[in-house]
């Protein structure tokens, strides 16, 4: 066995450039598969991971949320809806949000920003355990004209950064900043661009008490779907309109996203596999050329007593070794490429994605590489093994 390796190794080294190119083909193919899979897993993890943190949340919005028709009728909820939702069994807490875009000014600069009014007592329902102040605090019940601002509002919107105790002007009224929220990004990136004020203050700016969204936290995540259905039913009854409210659980979003990512993964792998098929043809080509070139040598080996299976084995071993080396290099290239791609995504889009390189993917890739190598080496190897020993003496 050791000598078979030696023999094959010599043959590979004999044709350095060609072997290197064949190995490179496999390396690129395997590298592409690994990189795309790892980035895919990373994306999936970063998104579903964030959603899992919010799994106990039901978002209730007026109008119909329908992905197929994209139809959405805007309306608003009222106090009665909120009270009814709070009374549903299994609901831990519910928070009403009043939101509208208003002109916001800081040191002469003006932007349209979404102002969210919320009852300070409901902050827990709204933010759950994940949205926390980076500095300062949330707005409080007894505050007057205060606000807690999103991370982007504080750092990115205005030329000057806004900190705690700075004053901003919302729709003509001065508000004191009491807190800056931690950066959220991803699925909660809208939090970064919002300004939170107390419900009482929001009523004065908004000039109405319409509720634009209700955030519901459930006690048992397993019952979220049931509760969501009940919420829709109650609010629809209140307004005597079917489909007046849509309640969306994060659990269903996670499932939906996972299936989307499943499809995405398959598509990515399919694309990457094309390069693997090209690499397989490369191996077959190299091996066929090698068989042609070594017609004489194969004849000699047979003349001195090699059986068909000896020759078959040697050629398969060569194909296997070339693809094994390609597979291992492919793993290295794939890991580096995955890190580079996720780094690129992070710097370009600001989305936090860490490529996840699973050991089973690496192992699978090497096995696939070997399989591709041996399968594409099979035809040339059979051809070689069937050669006549008379070739040696021609």
């Amino acid at each position: 066995m050791k000598d078979a390796f030696l023999l094959v190794n010599r043959n590979i080294k004999e044709r350095k450039a060609r072997s290197a190119l064949t190995i490179l083909g496999i390396t690129v193919g395997i590298g592409a598969v690994i990189a795309l899979m790892s980035v895919g897993y990373g994306m999936q993890e970063s998104i579903t991971g964030q959603l899992t943190e919010m799994a106990d949340l039901i978002m209730v919005m007026p109008g119909r949320m329908d992905f197929e028709t994209a139809y959405m009728e805007l309306g608003s909820f009222d106090e009665r809806d909120l009270k009814d939702v709070e009374r549903i069994k299994g609901v831990k807490e519910a928070a009403a949000m009043m939101a509208e875009m208003f002109e916001t000014e800081y040191k002469g600069e003006k932007f349209m920003v979404e102002i969210v009014g919320v009852d300070p007592g409901d902050i827990g329902a709204l933010f759950g355990k994940v949205v926390k102040p980076e500095e300062g605090r949330y707005v409080r019940e007894n505050d007057h004209k205060t606000c807690t601002i999103g991370y982007s509002i504080a750092k990115d919107y205005f030329d000057d950064e806004i900190g705690v105790n700075d004053r901003i002007t919302i729709n003509g009224s001065k508000f004191r900043v009491v807190g800056v929220l931690k950066k959220q990004g991803g699925f909660r990136s809208e939090v970064d661009s919002q300004i939170y004020v107390t419900k009482r203050d929001s009523v004065t700016i908004l000039d109405n008490e319409d509720i634009s969204e209700i955030f519901v936290r459930v006690r048992d995540i397993g019952k979220a779907e049931e509760i969501a259905d009940e919420i829709e039913e109650r609010i629809n009854d209140n307004h005597k309109v079917d489909d007046f409210a849509s309640a969306m659980t994060m659990g269903s979003s996670i499932k939906r996203l996972e299936s989307v990512f499943g499809i995405l993964q398959v598509v990515l792998i399919a694309i990457a596999s094309i390069s693997l098929i090209v690499a397989a043809m490369g191996i077959m080509n190299t091996m066929l050329m090698s068989v042609m070139e070594r017609t004489h040598e194969i004849g000699v080996m047979k003349a001195i007593g090699a059986k068909n299976r000896n020759i078959l084995f040697l050629f398969l071993l060569e194909a296997g070794m070339v693809s094994l080396v390609g597979g291992v290099f492919g793993c290295i290239v794939g890991i580096i490429a995955a890190k580079a791609i996720s780094f690129g995504i992070v710097t370009k889009f600001g989305v936090e994605i860490t490529a996840i390189v699973k050991p089973e993917v690496l192992l699978g890739a090497v096995v696939v590489a070997m399989l591709v190598g041996v399968l594409s080496g099979l035809y040339p190897a059979r051809k070689a093994s069937k050669m006549s020993p008379v070739e040696a003496v021609r």
């Binding site: 080996m301 047979k302 001195i304 007593g305 090699a306 059986k307 000896n310």
Partner: protein, 219 residues
Amino acid sequence: MIRTENLTKVYRMGAVEVQALRDVNLEIKDGEFIAIIGPSGSGKSTLLNLIGCLDKPTSGAVFIDGINTGKLSENGLAEIRREKIGFIFQQFNLIHTLNALENVALPMFFAGVRHEIRMERAEELLAKVGLGDRIHHKPSEMSGGEQQRVAIARALSNDPEIIIGDEPTGNIDTEAGNAIMDILEGLNHEGRTIIVVTHDAEIAARARVTKRMRDGSVL
């Protein structure tokens, strides 16, 4: 003992049939040293290929130690070549990626001999043909005569009873050629059957029996 019975070989080249051997009946006893001479195209090499189990006859048969080689499978033929026959070619036919030692050990590799034993025996054989100091040289670093001596060592590696040489001195100078013949004579003295094809009368003269061929027949 080697015996041929109405051995006939016809090559087909497109529409043309070439009768390379016609009803050859030949008997070569064990321990014989036979030279087959004749002009090129007379069928010498074809006869040698059939005796050496490299090729199959169109009709007739070759018996080696009573075995009808025409009845053997490809694997069976490979085994006969491996165990009973050692080949020496005009072009040496060494594997150029392997050094002398590895070339000599190759037939034993196919025979499944253990690595250590193989290497030891290969070294002994190289010493026997006078190349004990060149075992790690590649064929490209050796003269024609040296390469042919490596080829002889290789032919001996599975200790065959029969050594077949197709113009073994055809590609080397006279002096080296004589050295090759000395070695072959020595092997004959050990009791091995030596069959050599040549068109060099001087070389043929060193054999104990000479057979002349013409137009596919042994005269």
